[in-house]
């Protein structure tokens, strides 16, 4: 089966090159037969990579430890779910996942556009298939997942225990769906540049793909954060590690792109800028893969370092030169209808939104690569880590939240003073009222106070917007409020889906602010029967227990949790030992979650006399990050859902059928 897998990859590599050549040649010469053959090539690449993926899973499930990759990342006692996720535990499998996804996406794009975009489509596929060919080259020549060991070991090394966590089951596939998803709008953009069909078609055709990619990249980051929070045991979820930054940067530019295309669709502005943003986003996704794989910057993702760096760098270079060159060449034809009626308009607030997002991207790139710059300039190795990013990006994100609130309040084209006053009055009153309540309830941290106030402003803006629409429906159609809300959202899905996504983002922001600025922490060593006091909680330590499970030996500490003198539960942080001689046991934190705060307890160590040391934290509001993630899902689904009214509006603008 592994031979079949490798053969499939090899054939897929050859077919992908054939597809690229025949799409190009067929399109230039107008050979219909060649184009048809090329389309079949796309299906073939998808089928072959699917076969390769199945072969790799087959090797994992049959415990074929002669396959080096299987021996490295699984063992006999691994449960089914993690045997499946071992697929993407290392570099070879991750790259296979990448190429498999892009091949499937290429087929979907081909099918979606079977009757339209005849001029664009060949070049869209050329871009997708070239990218696939690059990854297939790496897989077949440099990083073969089916490579064999000269012997068949009795058992494998097993999956890194840190990766045995539900978060790690989902984090890589969702992140990759996001990364790879951005390849589709990028491919359409390139096709538009190549063919000179520079209208808004390519943007309209890829709105859903962009949303899809953006959503999965968001989820990928959230799953990663969630994994870090429950598994790494340091009480946080985001450390501004180079690889975290690598998946955050395309998210920032992707978010900017998602917003700026709206201006192009409405007003025909920012055409060049949108090309730049999507090119940048795609390059950053490849750069992210490169950072993870090259090991040029030390990172917690050292799970998969290798010597592939130069190849990725070369690929990034080629894409950069080609796409920017093409854009420069088409520049004279990209005349936008750039006219602005007022500084006070939705358009200008979108420009500032883009500025801040790109500014945050720049700050993040700058900080991420600064160690390399410092080494090159001064010959001194330095580190750029959390304190830098928190201090630099913190204020930038606060401004972003502010803009998130202001943007929907300013009308397109030109906002009048009365209009602004009317729109701003209640949200500002709401935010000020919130700030007073927050201050009265004991929040004294200036940063947190300011940030929460800005968040409450955004929430007020959205709620008032929804309320006004609902009240109008209630009055006119005599619908009850619940029906009115539902219909309001349903009758303008892109808009209200967007608002719901904003609400989700604000929830995430609230969780981040709470856990950063309002954290309480205590380090204490206690004997059995003694108490640890932290915030409103008292924890009574009752001693250690030791027990074996299928995979580990567990040493757990038992603590009773009291709040306000009443017992509210018990909690058992532990350390898991892979074997009796394991010197690096994994730390299993115990978390008691409520809507207001997480009680986060780490068992740091113990002594013969049963006394144990704990790190106990109260991380306020963290759960809102994960709740925000689900709200993001809801909003995206709504925005994603076909919207008749939006279709009519766009048809009116661009003509029927071209989407």
């Amino acid at each position: 089966m592994t031979d079949i897998g490798y053969a499939a990859l090899l054939i897929a590599f050859i077919v992908s090159i054939f597809t690229v050549i025949s799409f190009t040649w067929g399109r230039i010469k107008g050979y219909g037969d060649l184009l048809a053959a090329a389309r079949n090539g796309v299906y073939a690449v998808a089928a072959l990579t699917t076969l390769a993926a199945i072969a790799l899973w087959y090797a994992f499930l049959t415990r074929d430890f002669q396959v080096k990759y299987v021996a490295e990342y699984s063992d006999r006692k691994e449960p089914l779910a993690y045997t499946i996720s071992s697929f993407w535990a290392g570099q070879e499998g991750s790259l296979l996942l990448w190429v498999w996804m892009i091949a499937l996406f290429a087929v979907i794009v081909l099918y979606q556009n079977r009757d339209k975009h005849r001029e664009l489509m060949p070049f869209v596929q050329v871009v997708l298939m070239s990218t696939a060919a690059f990854f297939l080259m790496i897989l077949t020549l440099l990083s073969n997942p089916f490579a064999r060991l000269p012997f068949a070991p009795q058992d494998g090394n097993g999956l890194n225990p840190l990766l045995q966590n539900p978060g790690m089951f989902f984090h890589p596939p969702t992140t990759y769906l996001g990364y790879v998803g951005f390849a589709v709008p990028f491919a359409f953009a390139m096709a538009a540049l190549i063919t000179g069909k520079l209208g808004d078609d390519w943007i309209r055709s890829t709105r859903r793909w962009t949303l899809f990619a953006w959503f999965f990249l968001s989820m990928g980051n959230l799953f990663g954060a969630q994994w870090a929070y429950v598994e790494l045991g340091w009480g946080g979820f985001w450390a501004w590690d180079p690889v975290e930054n690598a998946s955050f940067m395309p998210w920032l530019t992707g978010t900017a792109y998602l917003h700026s295309v709206m201006i192009q669709q409405r007003r025909g502005m920012l055409k060049v800028w949108n090309f730049i943003l999507i090119i940048g986003t795609f390059l950053l996704t490849i750069f992210g893969t490169f950072l993870t794989r090259s090991g040029i910057l030390s990172s917690v993702h050292s799970f998969g370092q290798s010597n592939l760096g130069p190849f990725f760098l070369a690929f990034i270079g080629i894409v950069l030169v080609f796409s920017v060159g093409l854009l420069l060449d088409r520049l004279p034809h990209l005349k936008s209808d750039n006219e602005l009626d007022s500084f006070l308009s939705r358009e200008s607030s979108f420009l500032f939104n883009n500025l801040i997002l790109v500014g945050a991207t720049f700050a993040t790139i700058w900080g991420t690569v600064f160690p390399l710059i410092s080494e090159a300039v001064r010959g001194v190795k330095i580190t750029v880590s959390q304190p830098f990013f928190n201090q630099v990006n913190g204020p930038i994100f606060l401004v972003l939240v502010l803009i998130m609130g202001i943007c929907p309040l300013i009308g397109w084209r030109k906002a009048s003073k009365e209009n602004l006053l009317r729109n701003f009055l209640w949200p500002v009153i709401g935010a000020v009222a919130f700030a007073v309540v927050a201050y009265a309830s004991g929040i004294r941290d200036l940063y947190a106070l300011l940030a929460f106030t800005l968040c409450s402003f955004v929430v007020a803006v959205i709620l008032i917007e929804v309320f006004r629409g609902t009240r109008a429906r209630h009055r006119i159609y005599s619908e009850n409020y619940l029906t009115a809300v539902g219909k309001l959202i349903w009758h303008n899905k892109p808009r209200y889906g967007g608002y719901i996504i904003h609400l989700g983002v604000i929830m995430i922001a609230i969780g981040i602010i709470g856990s950063f600025a309002l954290k309480t922490e205590v380090d204490q060593t206690v004997a059995p029967g003694e108490m640890i006091n932290v915030g409103q909680f008292s924890l009574k330590y009752n001693g250690l227990t030791q027990y074996p499970t299928a995979n580990y030996d567990v040493v757990a500490a038992n603590l009773e949790v009291y709040s306000g003198g009443k017992k509210v539960g018990s909690i058992a942080p532990s350390k898991n030992f892979q074997s009796a001689t394991d010197e690096q046991p994994t730390t299993e934190v115990a978390i008691r979650t409520t809507l207001l705060e997480d009680l986060y307890v780490i068992l740091a160590g113990w002594d013969r006399d049963m006394s144990a040391s704990f790190k106990v934290m109260i991380n306020p509001l963290v759960v809102w990050i994960w709740i925000g993630g689900s709200v993001l899902l809801l909003g995206t689904l709504i925005a994603f859902w076909p919207d008749e009214k939006d279709r009519r509006r766009l048809d009116a603008r661009y003509g029927r059928g071209e989407a």
Binding site: A239, S348, L351, V380, S385, I476
Partner: protein, 158 residues
């Protein structure tokens, strides 16, 4: 000119805000441990890491704090031991200052570009033409008008 002043004020505000977000008692072990990288290879800051190396480093910090040393003296001590790479963020002096300034320089340049572009576009549209403020059908914030209009259309069709 007033606009320029406003922009400068905004930037100054941003820079002022660029203070540590996380709350830690100044001069505590945590306060110092947040600014040092653990040297076990975990790439985490000492404050976050729970390995033996980080424990040792925290112990050393506590010892030195108890001995009356200031935060800066302790940081300097670690730099002497491990080199600048032990600091979790670049110092705010010499070449390193570019690390801190460039993001904001980038933003200021960005604001400049946006401002320049917007003024040009404003000029482009100041040519006499009909003001489309209210006739922009898609964006009337007056919901009631819109619903009444739709209602009329609906009734007209049925």
């Amino acid at each position: 000119m007033a606009r320029v002043i406003r922009i400068v004020a905004l930037i100054a505000g941003l820079l002022l805000l660029a203070a540590p977000i996380e709350a830690a008692e100044v001069g505590s072990v945590d306060d110092v441990a947040r600014e040092l990288m653990c040297q076990c290879g975990c790439t985490m800051i000492v404050y976050n890491c729970d390995c033996g190396t980080a424990d040792q480093m925290r112990g050393l910090i506590r010892e030195k704090l108890d001995g009356g040393q200031t935060k800066q003296q302790i940081l300097d001590y670690f730099v002497g031991q491990y080199g600048e790479t032990v600091l979790a963020a670049p110092t705010k002096e010499g070449f390193n200052i570019t690390a801190w300034i460039m993001p904001f320089v980038g933003l200021v340049v960005g604001i400049g570009v946006v401002y320049f572009v917007m003024t040009r576009w404003l000029l482009a549209s100041s040519r006499p033409q009909e003001m489309a403020v209210v006739s922009d059908e898609e964006e009337l914030s007056e919901y009631e008008d819109r619903f009444l209009r739709e209602l009329r259309q609906y009734e007209g069709r049925s």
